[in-house]
């Protein structure tokens, strides 16, 4: 019930007006407030109509987006009518661009690894810190500060609870990228007098890889571990790579592109045995797979709020207290967050993050069941097409992240054919570049395969009808693009593509 009403709210209206109508609909709400909110909602609508969608806030507005879509479509229609066309095309793509799909005008959102929609319950929690409760949580001389500080500490408890940590071990940051930088640079710099070596893997998120590269410029040795064809690190290789001067092992929990889960517990015990700090980037894993920092011997763990239906712009770092992990802070300042991360916390974000973490824990079983069911359906449906395969281990994976290669179809053209579905051919950070995915390369996939991969993300608010639509759309359009593909034709003729000498560019 909640799920369907939420999805509808997102489709029909922007989040802000949805929130307003939610408040306006409260039965025991104050009438004057209700009236003022209702009038503000109508002014929002007016602003959109009169302003032709030029103001900066309206591009997130559905009405403005619709208007824009209509402009584009009428533009392309006028071209269509002028070219009388030696047409040989099919109609397979037409509904990707048609005006009214009957499902609303926004694409189906299946890019949950890039970010997740904010849970309306999270937004409810956040709103009061934008209105009445505006105190600086670090002001301890008056009640404004005390009340927000109380909310921050409550949120810290919720965030810690998910990974069985103590709330004092949670440091709020701006997000997982900051947390990862803080660990790789901070730990390395703190121990730089005696330790000069960092171990990480080739499939890490860019921020870990780049932070490690930055430490190479500061005179550190970095070992980038290989992964096998399933995307998993070899524990023997990891243990062999540890040297007496190794200060940190950083291995991500769930890969953002292929969803593979690394053996955290085993890595943790290896690190404990050799007395090396173990950091894991759990941006994609936190709240989605069971993590216990004590059982798994994790010393540092990065968390992102917007991957768990929380607000963007906030994350956290778990830093073990016993035995204490020392790190040099990136930011100098007032010494907030145990002196590790100076700067005033944003109470709306912190409270929203806390609420998102609380919901992740209370709804864990439901989410898990829902995502596993839809994931199985999607994987089975997609792999029913010829020459498709799942990238990464089929066993050790988070079901909400599915990466599939469609051989002989180019990824970007497939995404273009799937305009009614929001997907990515890799991580959002690198989708602007034309480079094939380095993660798939590390798995030993060739360029052609890496170019034809698409990532599907399933989350709490994905519905079964959406999955059905996606399976049907993908099958149709892969077929259309293969009809267009000379490589597919050669394969059908029995030509081995590797035997051809390609001219290259």
């Amino acid at each position: 019930m909640l799920r369907s009403s939420f999805v509808r709210a997102h489709r029909i209206s922007s989040t802000a007006t949805a929130a307003i109508s939610r408040y306006a609909l409260r039965p025991n709400g104050n009438t004057s407030i209700r009236r003022s909110l209702a009038s503000s909602a109508s002014t929002v609508a007016k602003a959109v109509e009169s302003d032709d969608g030029l103001s900066i806030e309206t591009h997130t507005d559905v009405q403005a987006a619709n208007k824009e879509q209509t402009n584009i479509r009428t533009a392309s229609n006028s071209i269509k009518s002028t070219t009388d066309g030696i047409s040989s095309g099919t109609t397979a793509l037409n509904h990707a661009y048609r005006e009214n799909t009957g499902y609303g005008t926004r694409p189906i959102y299946l890019d949950m690894q890039a970010t997740t929609p904010t849970d309306p319950r999270v937004l409810d929690t956040m709103l009061k810190y934008y209105t009445g409760l505006y105190g600086n949580p670090h002001s301890n001389t008056h009640s404004y500060g005390w009340e927000t500080n109380k909310a921050v500490e409550a949120a810290r408890e919720y965030v810690a609870d998910v990974i069985n940590a103590n709330s004092k071990e949670i440091i709020f940051t701006s997000g997982a990228t900051e947390s990862n930088n803080m660990v790789v640079k901070g730990v390395a710099r703190f121990y730089s007098k005696t330790k000069k070596h960092i171990i990480t893997t080739k499939t890490e998120h860019k921020c870990v890889i780049e932070a490690a590269r930055a430490m190479m410029n500061e005179g550190f040795d970095v070992t980038f571990l290989n992964v096998d064809a399933n995307g998993l690190v070899d524990l023997k290789e990891l243990e062999d790579a540890i040297r007496p001067d190794t200060c940190l092992v950083s291995v991500m929990a769930v890969n953002n592109e292929i969803g593979v889960i690394q053996p955290l517990k085993e890595i943790g015990s290896i690190c404990k045995k050799h007395k090396v700090y173990f950091h894991t980037d759990a941006a994609q894993a936190y709240g989605k797979i069971p993590i216990d920092v004590n059982e798994m011997n994790i010393d540092l763990l990065s968390i992102s709020s917007h991957k768990i239906y929380g607000p963007k712009g906030i994350g956290a770092l778990y830093v073990r207290r016993r035995p204490r992990v020392r790190l040099e802070p990136l930011l100098s300042g007032g010494g907030q967050e145990r002196g590790l991360r100076s700067g005033t916390l944003a109470p709306p974000n912190v409270a929203g993050f806390g609420e998102a973490a609380r919901i992740m824990k209370t709804e864990y079983e439901n989410d898990k069941k829902h995502i596993e069911r839809l994931s199985k359906k999607l994987v089975d449906g997609l792999l029913a097409n010829d020459h498709t395969n799942l990238n990464g281990s089929a066993l050790h994976r988070y079901p909400g992240c599915i990466n599939v290669s469609f051989a002989y179809v180019e990824g970007e053209s497939l995404l273009m054919a799937l305009r009614d579905i929001a997907l990515s051919s890799g991580s959002a950070c690198t989708s602007a570049s034309l480079e094939p995915s380095y993660v798939l390369h590390a798995l030993g996939k060739d360029d052609a395969m890496a170019h034809s991969s698409i990532r599907f993300g399933i989350g709490r608010f994905t519905t079964e009808a959406e999955v059905d639509y996606v399976i049907k759309a993908i099958s149709e359009r892969v077929k259309f693009l293969r009809e267009l593909s000379p490589l597919w034709e050669m394969v059908q003729e029995g030509i081995d593509l590797d035997s051809i000498e390609w001219s290259g560019h």
């Binding site: 032709d52 030696i86 095309g89 094939p436 360029d447 009809e483």
Partner: protein, 141 residues
């Protein structure tokens, strides 16, 4: 002003989308036939392969039929589709003179996609070359 904002925000021009959703002259000709020239350019590893085939009237040198198949991004598909429209009915000498800038201009390709139009130019040249070698070898016999 509004429309210019849209085109800068979006990667693809409406003309590219139009060619992509409704590509002209998709298909294959008999590559063993003497009056058919085939050009295959690009590489799967780079993410773009264009196969362009022309059927030429031996006497007049006019391209009577043209077909393509493309593995690549939307711009590559649109470039080759537009190229087939251009060369249909043209003499092979004129077709060889088509420059990639002509395609890029028509489709308003952004700089990162210019290589798609170059690939389309290479494809027609390769097809013409293939046709000429085939014809010369038959003449010698």
């Amino acid at each position: 002003m509004r429309s210019s904002m849209i085109t800068t925000r979006r990667l693809y021009h409406p003309k590219v989308i139009e060619h992509y959703t409704n590509p002209r002259n998709v298909g294959s000709l008999d590559k063993k036939s003497k009056d058919v020239g085939t050009g295959i350019v690009g590489a799967p590893a780079c993410g773009d392969v264009i196969k362009l085939q022309i059927q030429v009237d031996d006497k007049t040198g006019i391209i009577e039929n043209v077909k393509f198949k493309t593995f690549g991004c939307g711009s590559a598909i649109a470039s080759s589709s537009y190229m087939t429209e251009l060369v249909h009915g043209m003499s092979i000498d004129d077709a060889a003179k088509i420059k990639n800038t002509e395609i890029a201009k028509e489709l308003s390709l952004p700089p990162v996609k210019l290589h798609c139009s170059m690939l389309a130019e290479d494809a027609i040249k390769a097809a013409i070359k293939d046709y000429k070698t085939k014809r010369n070898s038959t003449v010698l016999h």
